[in-house]
Amino acid sequence: MNRLEELFTRKKNNILNVYCTAGFPQLNNTIEVMKALQDNGADIIELGMPYSDPLADGPVIQSSNIKALQNGMTMQLLFEQLRDFRKEIYVPVILMGNINPVLQFGFENFCKQAASLPIDGIILPDLPEYEFENEYGSVIKKYGLDFIFLITPETSEERIKKLDALSTGFLYAVSSSSTTGNKKDFNAVEKYLQKINSMQLKNPVLVGFGIKDKSSFQSVCKYANGAIIGTAYIKAIEYSNNIQADTKAFLDAILN
């Protein structure tokens, strides 16, 4: 059983997945940030691989990506930073990013290195399911990595079923059609989550985009297995001199 499976078997509700950008706020903060997240209650860590032109991200995560690149983060360096990370980090870790840097690194090489650490899963929002089925899915499977697809309020039921069938680990439900960090009306989100909830999907569902505090976390946890927080956490550590303390304050406010 891999870490994600183990987590979802043990814990069905209120699962908290927190996004951070590798090499942010400082180049060598990657492990420290992950450790702080784990120590203070994050169940899953979604580690962003910075990209120059992240299309699905709002200004906060965009600027964390640019900052990380200016800090000197590269895919090669990220894998070096992560070489011994399993000595400290036992929660599931997912690598998340845009497809182009992964293609340049070499898709198979990327999967191989990720699996050797081991990383548990991958999210590549701009890898469409056709390419996944046709070319990349088999490589991901070969290295035993989970691959997580996104669904949105605009995704048809038929397509949700298909993406659920292709996903392993969990399904990432984008709360509203928006870039990350955008505020939207949560009542409309509720209806959408109820629909997903009633569909009896194979995978656990985590809800992301727009979750920023205790109340938004709790409201989506009513209908899903948990939530993903990104923008709000990036803001919380953007200028941090004490990652451990700022992460604790941030997560305490959500979980306690």
Binding site: P101, I151, E154
Partner: protein, 405 residues
């Protein structure tokens, strides 16, 4: 009109396969947030485009509003200068001053039929933004144009035109503040407005079906060239067709009906900026590698880590680190030859055309003209240059360099 055949697995020059591939390039690398809109477009664009009522309105607007057909002008003095026969396809004489209006009319009419109430666009030189704002004004539709801050400065007249036409111009402040960044912002707008908005992409870039759709709307250029050449010289096939390439829409349109006529040499001209190896260039085929940018796999200027690099060109419309997937395929297969011209060469070519033919071309177009110097023509060769746009928008740059030349 054009036939709608089922493309084969690899796609052809004239039509990508059902997944949007021309050879190894194309596809639709989009986040799920864009899926429904792109799929809606993919399922409907051919049906709508070749619907009789659509064609009637499209052709009517091209004729009575844009002013088509545009002349194919025999440039006698320029021909003498290069000791060959040069014909200029006068896209600069279109309403709004460039080929961009062909696509803008097509896509806005299509958006209306999809029930969209809000139009967004990106623009580099401002010609696509002006064209889109123009058609939106004509149709009474809300129009929002994203434009890099640097481009807003160097193409000020077009910013003023868009505003006068009622469009909102939103500055893109990220990255190099040029066309790539404006495109990023337009895509993000579309993600945030999934229900009522159509994104009018201005070139043959973006996820499938955009490259094919924009190519088809621009193919009127080569359709007319064939008819006009037949009238003028008795054959519809020239020896060369030359065009500048930013994303590649005027080139795609000028090449389209010649793609299967292998005797016709297709010459695409990219912007070398300060020189290919100067670190300040936008010559994508020379500097790029296969990669994904703005939703399709094509050639992309990027670092070894796959981060998109900032291009440079004096011309805002060519200042882009990618090219459309059709062009990547034309390059890889050798069907088209890719040349490049520097900022200085383009400037000189603009002044030359102004003095020789009384035509002030856009800085983008000037790159195609500059490449004439790199060609070895015979006296009887028939050379068609796509004069994609006029230079009014570039007068500030031209005035600045006037003394130096």
């Amino acid at each position: 009109m054009l036939n709608i055949s089922i493309p084969n697995n690899k796609g052809s020059y004239k039509q990508p396969n059902i997944f949007g591939y021309y050879g190894n390039f194309g596809g639709a690398y989009i986040p799920e947030m864009l899926h429904r809109n792109v799929e809606e477009l993919r399922n409907n664009y051919l049906k709508i485009m070749y619907d009789e009522a659509f064609q009637k309105e499209f052709q009517y607007l091209l004729h009575d509003y844009a002013g088509r057909p545009t002349p194919l002008f025999y440039a006698e003095r320029l021909s003498n200068q290069f000791n060959t026969k040069i014909y200029l396809k006068r896209e600069d004489l279109n309403h709004t001053g460039a080929h961009k209006i062909n696509n803008a009319i097509g896509q806005v009419l299509l958006a209306q039929r999809l029930g969209k109430k809000r139009i967004i666009a990106e623009t580099g030189a401002g010609q696509h933004g002006v064209a889109t704002a123009t058609v939106c004004a004509l149709k009474g539709i809300e129009c929002i144009v994203y434009m890099g801050v640097k481009d807003m400065e160097r193409q000020q007249p077009n910013v003023a035109r868009m505003k006068m036409l009622g469009a909102a111009v939103i500055p893109a402040t990220s990255g190099s503040q040029t066309l790539k960044d404006a495109t990023n912002e337009a895509i993000r707008d579309w993600i945030n407005n999934p229900n009522d908005t159509h994104y009018v992409i201005g070139s043959v870039v973006g996820p499938h079906p955009y490259p094919d759709m924009v190519t088809r709307f621009q193919s009127i250029i080569s359709e007319e060239i064939k008819i006009q050449l037949k009238e003028k010289i008795g054959t519809e096939l020239p020896n060369y067709v030359m065009a500048c390439v930013g994303g590649g829409s005027n080139a795609a349109g000028a090449f389209y009906h010649f793609l299967d006529d292998l005797s016709v040499q297709l010459i695409a001209v990219e912007a070398a900026g300060c020189g290919i190896n100067s670190g300040m260039s936008a010559a994508t085929t020379q500097l790029g590698k296969p990669g994904v940018l703005h939703g399709s796999k094509s050639l992309v200027m990027q670092t070894i880590d796959g981060q998109v690099t900032e291009p440079h060109s004096i011309s805002a419309g060519l200042d882009y680190p990618g090219i459309g997937p059709l062009h990547a395929h034309l390059y890889e297969s050798g069907r088209a030859k890719f040349l490049s011209a520097t900022d200085d060469e383009a400037l000189k070519a603009s002044f030359n055309l102004a003095k020789m033919e009384g035509i002030i071309p856009a800085l983008e177009t000037a790159h195609a003209l500059a490449a004439l110097h790199q060609m070895k023509f015979t006296k009887d060769d028939v050379v068609v240059v796509c004069l994609s746009g006029r230079g009014d928008k570039d007068m500030a740059t031209y005035m600045k360099t006037m003394d130096e030349l």
